[in-house]
Amino acid sequence: MKYVDEFRKPELIRKAAAEIRRLVDPQRHYRIMEVCGGHTHAIYRFGLKDLLPSNIDLIHGPGCPVCVLPMGRVDDALSIAAQEDVIFAAFGDMMRIPGTQGSPLEHKARGMDVRIVYSPSDAIKLAKANPDKHVMFFAIGFETTAPSTALTLVRAKTEKLRNFSVFCNHVMIVPAIRAILDSPDMRLDGFIGPGHVSTVIGCRPYEWIAKNEGKPIVVSGFEPLDLLQSTVMLLMQLQKKEAKVENQYARVVPWEGNRAALRVMAEVFELRPYFEWRGLGFISQSALRIKPAYEEWDAEQRFKVPGIRVTDPKAAQCGEVLKGVLKPAQCKLFGNECTPENPVGALMVSSEGSCAAYYNYEHRKHNRLTSLSLSA
């Protein structure tokens, strides 16, 4: 734990917060987007907003893979899992994602064989332990988790494992950032760049943001000190009117990325022409599918999927929150119809979604005693 504690030392955090206060121009309003859901979660969990001046607005970006997955994809996967002798395997945080007929967890309570795994290779273990069943791994995530899915597919092919397939929902971060920047109502001063994704893709893919869009981006770690240091680095660039890619998370992120991981991804995956994102709509070349050479292990090829598109409930204003036009609590459904237990909109689904993070860590901070009924 020593490693983590170094990045949570109160005196260092206070120092970084003081540096931020020194750097901000009180006349100016700053809008900074943290792209990654892990950052959103950390910002709320560590209460970092309490440390920032009020004229720095943090806009929570699209980097939560659970949140951006459209309901139709969940329905498709569950329709496969509803077939006899199919085991649905997924990470724990997928269990509450809503389909139109309920989440995987609710399907499990109704009798579907749904298992939580902690890695794709656990799903392979599960397939080997259940030779008379078919194990479908519900793969999800940005470039962070895509390499381990790719390796698992290579292994399944090498070992000629016949009772295993992957339902692939892997998406890519850069097209999502591009879509956000293309949106007309989006005004941003800079980005806190994704940490874990960058361990795989490196920092180069962000260079266009600095060069073409003129926005600074700092790839950041996930501890309180990391996030504050990244904010300092962004503010220094803004002060000097610079726009470049910087790497605050160099202890983990190599500038060129992880070549072995990129290689195995290229071996197994190819680009989908387009893919639907919850809250953002269709984005071209933004997701990965399994190459024909691996189609025997591609659940979408192997099984019939309905492929019906399910529109999000109109009342949920996820798109506006995602673009920072609305704060989570300003959405009409927030906290009433839409809660982490019963999410209506995408951003309430995972603990990394901005609405769920705000709901869990922030919105009751200002409860007043008088707001509750006293019957003395």
Binding site: Y44, D50, L51, L105, K108, A109, R110, L372, L374
Partner: protein, 352 residues
Amino acid sequence: MSDETKLEVRGPIVKFREPQIEMAHGAGGKASRRLVEGLFAPLLFGSQRQPLNDAAHVSIDGARMAITADSFVVKPLVFPGGSIGELAVNGTVNDLAVSGARAEIMVVTFVLEAGLSTVTLQAQIQAMADAAQKANVRIVGGDTKVVEHGKADGMYITTTGIGGLLDGIEVDARSVHPGDCILLSGPVGDHGITILLARGDLDLEGDLQWDTRSILPLVDAVARAAGSGVRWMRDPTRGGVATSLNELARDCGMGMVLFEDAIPVRDGVRGACELLGLDPLHIANEGQFLAIVSPELANAALTALQSTPGGEEARIIGEIRDEPAGAVLVTTLYGGSRIVDMLVGDPLPRIC
């Protein structure tokens, strides 16, 4: 009767609208509370809304006593530092202790799965007998049922415990005041994380061990040192410290402010929680308890706890404030803060 004791339970009336029972309803968090307050309580206890405690205080022919019921569903049956039989006795003793009572009598029911080995069963009956002797409680009766193979994870145990009330101690959420201190008897999360690692699904290893135990000696020490200042107690089992304190916050309408750096958490528990994205405050505990004590007597209670064997790691972890009303706020040394809600759903496979 003073004014505050006439207060009703505060907070909104809970309704149970779910179409079916999910695992989350047994996880001890929000869903569990909705099930109990929205379905069981209105049908069984009528419209009278009382805070729900770990044991009920009743009076029969003038004799006052406390009664509690508990059930134990643990997988694996034996884990580092304890087993289901021992847990069944200590869990019951502890539910009585935190409601201000000394366990005297227990009855137990075993639901056994066909195919359970006699050696396993005998070991658990023996564990139960040993724990009962250690905690000074008599097991006076019970019942046995056998269900088909594949239906009961080896065995389930349910218990009923009856105890006499401890002198000079009155536990009631409605007596909690702003300024009161929040005491915790030892490190959080050891039990839940030990069980999680013992299941072996995670490919994580740790040298954690947590012995289930009776907390009666610790509660007794607090009662003797600060009896009149003790407002409320709870053993934070399923749903952890966060869930217990959220229940109190809703029952008394006040804010629970915790000092993150004062909360004792072992490195192994912190490490596992960091890796798995869990909050130690949501992890189940056994053999620990929370006590709300008036500010004048809090230090006396703490000293008494720390000088009782097994209470050395007790700490004052926070205080009651007016705000945030009905919520739990964790504050850090560097000035950040966050709300910690009740556990939502079931972060882990069920523990007990």
